[in-house]
Subunit: 524 residues, 2 copies
Amino acid sequence: MFEQVLIGGRWCASLDAQGSFRAEDPSRVEAIGPAFPISGDADIEAAMRAAVDVAGALNAASPAQIADFLERYAAAIDADADRLVALAHAETALPAEPRLRSVELPRTSNQLRLAAKAVRDYAWTDPVIDTQGGLRAHRAPLNKPVLVFGPNNFPFAFNAIAGSDFASAIAARNPVIAKAHPSHPATSQRLAQLAHTALLEADLPGASVQMLYHFDNALGLAWAGDARLGAIGFTGSRAGGLALKATADKAGVPIYAELSSINPVFMLPGALVERGEALAQEFFASCTMGSGQFCTNPGIVIVPKGEHGDAFVAAATRLFAEAEAKVLFSRGVQQNLARAVASLHAAGAHVLAGGSVGDGYRFQPTLLGVDGDDFVAHAESLQAEAFGPVSLIVRAADLAAMQRIAASFEGNLTGTIYRPSDGGDDSAWQALAPILRNKVGRLIANKMPTGVAVSAAMNHGGPYPSTSHAGFTSVGMPAAIRRFTALHSYDNVPEALLPAELRNRNPGGVQRLVDGRWTDGDVA
Amino acid sequence: MFEQVLIGGRWCASLDAQGSFRAEDPSRVEAIGPAFPISGDADIEAAMRAAVDVAGALNAASPAQIADFLERYAAAIDADADRLVALAHAETALPAEPRLRSVELPRTSNQLRLAAKAVRDYAWTDPVIDTQGGLRAHRAPLNKPVLVFGPNNFPFAFNAIAGSDFASAIAARNPVIAKAHPSHPATSQRLAQLAHTALLEADLPGASVQMLYHFDNALGLAWAGDARLGAIGFTGSRAGGLALKATADKAGVPIYAELSSINPVFMLPGALVERGEALAQEFFASCTMGSGQFCTNPGIVIVPKGEHGDAFVAAATRLFAEAEAKVLFSRGVQQNLARAVASLHAAGAHVLAGGSVGDGYRFQPTLLGVDGDDFVAHAESLQAEAFGPVSLIVRAADLAAMQRIAASFEGNLTGTIYRPSDGGDDSAWQALAPILRNKVGRLIANKMPTGVAVSAAMNHGGPYPSTSHAGFTSVGMPAAIRRFTALHSYDNVPEALLPAELRNRNPGGVQRLVDGRWTDGDVA
């Protein structure tokens, strides 16, 4: 009847389907594909038990096996690109080219390979050796399942069964229970099939990875408070994430939640003098790409008052006004976006272009404007995230106004400052950057925030409430892996009983902090 | 009238004292020293505002200044040892020698110096450079105050104004608001005077450090939920810590709470054959030192059944029975301990020695016993922490029983396995250690858990509920500093606008991860 779920290393019928759902083609508002089960308690409990039971075996697996799995899975995704892109395009309406095929899919397989590399060279384990103290420490698996909630907006790169949280949790040898996003079930199913096959080929326990398509929010909340979990990874709405965080916190389960961000972009005057028209185009492209459904969408742009600022706003307004309505992922996204725009309007922003829903799940690219003082006076309501092709232009009288605006922000994933290439505004940068710096995880110069490179120096994170913890990133290897680890110290333990990578001999050339110095050599 | 509090860089009268309290000499049950104010909302709010206001200036201070402060403070503590030891001895009844003078005080100043070293060499900042991606990242201050709640049991080394949380938070250039423990106010006052003087000598803002002696629990709870805080450090009881954690979690304030631990010690058969009598002595000394008031006290010892196990238990029982009653910190500690022993008894443990309160705040060193199967059957109530010179011996029929016992533990700070020096029990180690390993932060061989070295490879932390997060340690530099940091990434930022330690030139020889390799050189 319904499609099968992946529990305990087997594809099987849902034990207690509470009903079913189908994917939708958002561009045609039409149900597509087969019926997927909505899981109940029995599925959830079965997945949890299987994951708890397999944790020890996965913990004991060799890094080579884990890396082998990640690389096989990456290769399988690349080989299956045609099918995956077709499924994801149909379920999300994201463009097959370049977005899904040339950007997101290779990024996803690359991320799995970078996780494999971090596993092979032990980079995520942070080995520390104190020869005098007889102490050695490293990061180790949680030895418990990690529950991953995937978002709607990246069917591959943040998919609960293939994205960064998945790759990170498995790299640290923890079982993953993936809660797919119901807006792309067939894509998730196909990925899970590839993952499952790769697991078996790598000779890892099949139950290392489980996947359910959907369940009631109330069940998700209850599950997040299950102390058998080692951690939770979540990417999604602030309301949903905070609700999960509340129950996870109560149970002492660490939750890494990426919640919301408006990603302020400051235009210093010299940048607009130099290339205002081009920047308007750059801003428009970043804000409307993927229908603006990015956590790093430039949701607010701070533009100086005066001639060059006016010209930037005029150019941007024209671009937004001339653009076609963009297809969103779902009716829910469309409704939330309409509500968000109405609420910005009610808080004092005026509509410069767009502002209304289109056919089906479409929404007009929308630009709003507000005076800088008004923004600061109503900062809380004017910095609410509007998830979609929407941005708010804030006009700042001077540098001091920009500083006040920056100071009024909540925590964000990113903050950007555009400056002229001749360095003419560097004193303004020096005055503004320290304020913005402490409000964001990634400070960007002269680039829109929408590209998130999978780099060891990336921070896709930021102060609360953009994420649940300012010390961690959800993108970038090996840093993202550290979220799903426990710190393990060995005190006075004889060398033969230590984990191999903490012994004196270091045949693999692992980089280790030995008596305060990083080295890939043996301990003398 | 009352002693002054330290707010906003000045010693001043409490703005709204809700009453006062005096220290007690626990050995004589006698109030000593002057009257200290119990702060109300006004003190708390004033301290918070001053700390919020100073955060930016402290963030902008140079590492050399921060290190200078930490080293001056360390030197001042060493120079003032006579007075500090006298005050702490009077207020805690802990032995002046060796504990306070030769162990805890030098450990405290050494910890401040190690924090200074981590500041000077940037070790806590984890610099990462990705030259191809144009991304650079490091750890940075929270730019918000850190609130530190100190415990009763280490008047120097965990004092809110001098201990590891304090040193860590300041090393990361965050203002500290210290909530001293009311059981040693004069010690805390003296430390705060030294800290304040050292701050001014290092030319840092006086408001970088604030201290209040005491306030009502309800005010503390409310304060922990203040979103102006960057983080909270807490060491104390599980009930108190979980209450603070609940309000901090709700506000998105990271809290690093060390909550409770019973620190299981397993005796493998060969170790008892080899040196059972000596181990009984070692165990007794560790359990009763400092009147057992350690978070790493060996609260449970798993002993094989049979002849050698019986001899160990007999020897330990004799030592406990012959020992004098030990002075505890306060009536509250004594009452809690009596309740804990009664509750272990009610859950099925029998008293082998001691078991009752003595004169004043004294308590008899107490040894209880229980059968391994009974322990597993009532694991929850039998692993409740008894804070004081109390331990529970669990008799295990065989290795499988030891495994079941280990599997029944909650998260702990430490787990210890004693083995014979000839390696004869190594197969038993291999069977037991993986289970214990995942229940504890520090796995120890052949040593009691009560010594916690300040080492880069230490983990004074462990899985929930021993602490609030298994990924962090509260002791050991630079690791403990990372708790009070935010991850900062720089994307496409011109070199001249980067923090000095992320630029290409690396004149200080900072160790940095450049394109995947640790190096202290320049970026080419």
